[in-house]
Structure formats: C-alpha cells, structure tokens
C-alpha cells in the first residue's frame, strides 16, 4: 500500500542551537562593518572600504592580536593536516588519483602515498603505474587522511594505514563541513550495530560493522555480499537521523548521532523525515546533550 502524505506548508524555525553558549560569538553578514579602527590587519573574509573593515562572508569574526578575519559558517572544505576525509575518485592520472572532497580544488592521492596490498614497502615501478586502475577506479569511495596542503590550497591525501582505503557497501550522506565536530577519532562503531566514518569534509559514510577485522586486506577487497535487512534498517535510520540533525543545524559527533538514534526509535524510519517528527527528536537530543554537559 502506498503511503502518500501531503500537507499545507507551515512556517518553521530550526530548533537547533540558538542563543549564546560559552561566550558570545560576533556574527556578521556580508557588508557588516566589523570595526572602524584602522590599526587592524585584514585577514580572509574581510575588505577595507572608506577606512572601515567590512565583512565579505557570513560568519564569525576571529581576532588574533592585530589580525581580523571572518570564518564563514557554510563553506567548502578547507583541508588541515591530519583530517580524515571521505572522497570519491574522479580521475586516474599518471602517478596519482584525483579525489573529489567537497573543497575548492580536487584533492590528490599520490601513488606513493597508497598502501600496496600485502603491506609491501618498495619504490613504485612502471608496472604499479599501469596497475593503478586495478586498485582504484573512477567513482570509488575512499577514506584517507590529509598529509599536506599544496600552496594553491589543494590537499594531498594518504592511505598509509590499514584503516583507510576503498570503502565497500554503505550509505554516503553529504553535509556541510562546518557541522562535523573535530574529535580525536572519526571512526566510530556505534552500539546500535553500524559503524560510521565522519569525514571532516562533510562526507559521512555509514556501513555495517564487519564481523572480523581483515588485517591483510588493507582495504582493497570489497565485500559484495548482500547486507541483511536488520543492518539495512539500522543504517537507514542512522542516515535519516543525520539528515534530521543537519536540517536543524546541530553539530555532528558520535554522541549526538547516538542520542538522535535512540530518540527516533519509537518512530518508523520513513517518518523521521517529516518536519514535526524531526523537530521532536532533535529537541530531545539537544536536551540530553545539555544534561550531559551540565
């Protein structure tokens, strides 16, 4: 039986974080004057007009001694060394792969930064170059870490650990990079039965927890067995919870996703995306997080 729900539109405000928490943030919109004091150096996101420092992006003002810059709230991913990213291969070039990571320029994964299967350590030869397409093709998803940043801002990735590599079956959710909280680890095994990788670039990968850890594979063999229905239900529910948190502009980290999952259990999976149910579970999540802090 088809379930079709139509409704009349209602004005809704996001119930996410509103009001100052732990210090006022000076928020500006493009065109707002930050200061009329000429003693400051202007950083990113600002420009000078008529001796006034004016913001060019919408975000929070950051002041470091004499440098004033505006950090935008909704922006493309700006790489920092040590970040975990989830990306999609767009091109296979001579000695490297181009990876799309929701940043201004495509990221680069050099052949020398990739682990060979079996964990060998040797110089990459011409045969390795010709066999590049066997490892990673266009359209594959990988998890990697940022190794360095080029002068033009492009990010160089590496997969020099067994926990990085090609991703198998799962669900990708694309969110804004500023909503992913920086934590010690971005690979989480949630107790509900699925695992999640929170990429700093806003790509979130949800996948069924593998039963045993394959250490020899190094992340190249993909498991194409059909995923059982119970796992798929958990993954769909997590995906809807993440979408709900993002719509209400809540920060994403393992605790918030877990609390949101637990708050959504009384509802059906497809109902989570209804606006009123979304508000209800996000409010409950917010409440539990505040109780945890205070």
């Amino acid at each position: 039986m088809a379930a079709i729900s139509m409704r009349l539109p209602v004005v809704r405000k996001p119930v996410g974080p509103s009001g100052p928490r732990g210090g006022e943030k000076h928020l500006v919109a493009p065109g707002d004057t930050i200061t009329t004091d000429t003693g400051y150096m202007r950083g990113h996101g600002t420009y000078v007009e008529d001796e006034k420092l004016i913001a060019s992006v919408a975000g929070a003002v950051e002041r470091v001694n004499k440098l004033v810059c505006v950090r935008a709230l909704k922006t493309r991913y700006n790489g920092e060394v040590g970040d975990i990213v989830v990306g999609r291969i767009t091109e296979v070039q001579q000695k490297r792969w181009k990876v799309e990571t929701n940043s201004r320029l495509d990221s680069i994964l050099l052949l020398s930064s990739m682990n060979l299967p079996g964990g060998e350590l040797r110089r990459r030869s011409a045969e390795d170059e010709l066999a590049m397409r066997d490892y990673l093709q266009e359209g594959d998803l990988i998890s990697a870490e940022v190794q360095s940043i080029f002068s033009d801002g492009a990010v160089s990735l590496h997969t020099r650990s067994l926990k990085y590599g090609k991703l198998g079956q799962g669900v990708l959710v694309q969110v804004s990079p500023s909503l992913v909280k920086r934590q010690k680890t971005h690979f989480h095994d949630l107790p509900c039965g699925a695992s999640v990788i929170l990429g700093n670039n806003g790509f979130i990968w949800i996948y069924p927890t593998p039963e045993q850890k394959d250490e020899e594979a190094g992340g190249f063999t993909t498991n194409l067995e059909p995923v059982p229905l119970s796992d798929r239900e958990v993954i769909s529910r997590l995906r809807n919870c993440i979408v709900a948190l993002v719509t209400q502009k809540m920060m994403l980290f393992d605790t918030s996703i877990l609390y949101c999952y637990e708050a959504s259990l009384p509802h059906q999976i497809k109902d989570i995306l209804k606006p009123e149910v979304m508000e209800e579970i996000v409010l409950e999540t917010q409440q539990r997080l505040l109780d945890l802090e205070g």
Binding site: A2, R7, L8, P9
Partner: protein
C-alpha cells in the same frame, strides 16, 4: 524486502507540501515541494481565437522554464532541452479529450475562446520532476479563476465582449479528470516510485504514466537508456495505477482542506 535508503517502501512518496494562490497576478498558481524538488506553476487565462480543427473549444499551452537556481547543469541554456521534453510530455498527457473540459473555455465558436497559458518554473531539482510538476499543474488548475464574460450583439451583428465588474464572479475548472504523472524507475529487479536524485542516478530506465483519479491511463512514456522487459512494464503499470489513485485522493483532500480555510488562510509563500 521493501526498504530504500531513506527508509521508505517502494511505493511511498516523500513528504509533499502544496500551496495554491502564491502568485498574485496570475489566474491561478500553485507551489509544490516534494522533498528537495520545488516547482512553481502559474496559469494565465487570455482570450484568443480557437484552433481551426476545434472551433468550439479553448486550449492549453504549456511552457517549462528550468531556472538556473535549480541545479548547476541548468546554467545558461542547459535547461532548455529538459524544459522542452517536459513541455512535450505535458502536451501528450493533456491531449486526451476527457482530461479538461475544453468546451467550457469557449466564448464564441470560431471567434473567441479562453487560452490557458500554463507556465512551469523549476526552482529546485531534487529528483522526480514529472510527478511534482503534474501535481502542481493540477493544483494550479484547481485554483484558476477565469472571469465570466458576456457576449453582446450589436444591431449590425458585430459582437462585443463584456467582462463582469465583480472580481469574484468567475468560473472554476473541474479538475476531477486531470491526470497526474507517476514515474516508476527500474532499479535492479524492482521498481520504485518517487526516486530521489541518488536513486535516479542508479536507474537505467523509467516509465512515466499519467493516471486519472479513476485509474485510466492517458499517456505512457519510457525514458532512459536501459531496456524494459514487457512483463515488468505490465507490473509497473499496475503499480502506477494503484499509486496514482491514492495520489489523487491525497491531493484532492489537501486542496479541499486549503479551500475550506478560505480567505483567512495565512499564506506562507516564499519567505516562510
């Protein structure tokens, strides 16, 4: 196993929001938001001469504009091909005699008739365009108010058309038989209704069928570069008829609910 990525079953639609009378200078308008897909339809009634082969009927003209805001591919003239494809689909859907009562649009046979210019604007592309457009067109036609005209005959025989002074004196169209398009996308061995952008990227072939509220089909169209087995086409048609009937019931309920709120309804519009 009836489970898609967002938890819906294969025959479930996403949550839809319908609002009519959003554009004030049209005869009728509607805005439909189906997930991330946002469609605005405006209907303008103008006087014109009937077509030669149908002298006692009015007619409908469709125009689809893919706004560049919808997706980056529509930049410049990128959206023209999709726009003309959608417009030709709408023409074929409404080509059947029974969909709209065109005889009621006639003022003077062979001389004057009402022409309904239906303009569709794609504001945001989030998958499943055809369904959302057909829902919006039906809602806009339901909302259309065509002013009543009287034909006065002079002594010499020349006819004059007089528009009534009362702005609320108008005729409404009967949209009971207006069909809605149901898109069935084939993914793997199953078919789904209301595909999102990711599901559309995975589907090789889809079937567009237009269904009236009684379950009769007015047109069928296959899109996509894959092929469809004749057996699966029959299955998809049965599913489409079933889903189409429930779609009409849900849409009519919401339109009646909106109508019953009357002039005291608070319009949300675009700045909500």
């Amino acid at each position: 196993e009836d489970l898609r990525v967002d938890g819906r079953g294969c025959e479930d639609y996403r949550c839809a929001e319908v609002e009519t009378d959003v554009v004030s200078n049209t005869s009728g308008s509607a805005r439909v938001k189906l997930g991330h897909t946002d469609i605005l339809v405006g209907v303008k009634a103008e006087m014109g001469t009937p077509k030669l082969e149908k002298p006692d009927e009015g007619y409908l003209e469709f125009f689809v504009d893919c706004s560049a805001n919808a997706t980056p591919e529509f930049e410049g003239r990128g959206g023209e091909e999709l726009g003309s494809e959608i417009a030709s689909t709408l023409y074929s859907v409404f080509s059947s005699e029974s969909t709209v009562d065109l005889k009621s649009l006639c003022i003077n046979p062979r001389e004057h008739c009402w022409v309904l210019y239906i303009d569709v604007l794609l504001l945001e592309c989030g998958g499943n365009l055809f369904d959302a457009i057909s829902i919006a067109v039906k809602a806009a036609l339901f909302n259309t108010r065509i002013p009543k005209v009287r034909v006065l005959e002079d002594e010499e025989g020349s006819k004059e058309i007089e528009l009534s002074d009362d702005p609320y004196d108008c005729i409404r169209l009967n949209v009971d038989s207006v069909p809605c398009i149901v898109t069935l996308s084939k993914i793997g061995y199953r078919h789904v209704v209301d595909a999102t952008l990711q599901e559309e990227a995975c589907c090789l072939a889809s079937l567009l069928i237009s269904v009236t509220n009684k379950g009769t089909l007015t047109s069928i169209k296959k899109v996509g570069k894959g092929s469809l087995d004749p057996e699966s086409i029959f299955e998809m048609m049965e599913t489409g008829k079933r889903v189409g009937k429930s779609l009409h019931i849900a849409l009519q309920k919401i339109l009646d609910e909106e109508e019953s709120l009357g002039t005291s309804r608070q319009k949300v519009g675009f700045l909500g």
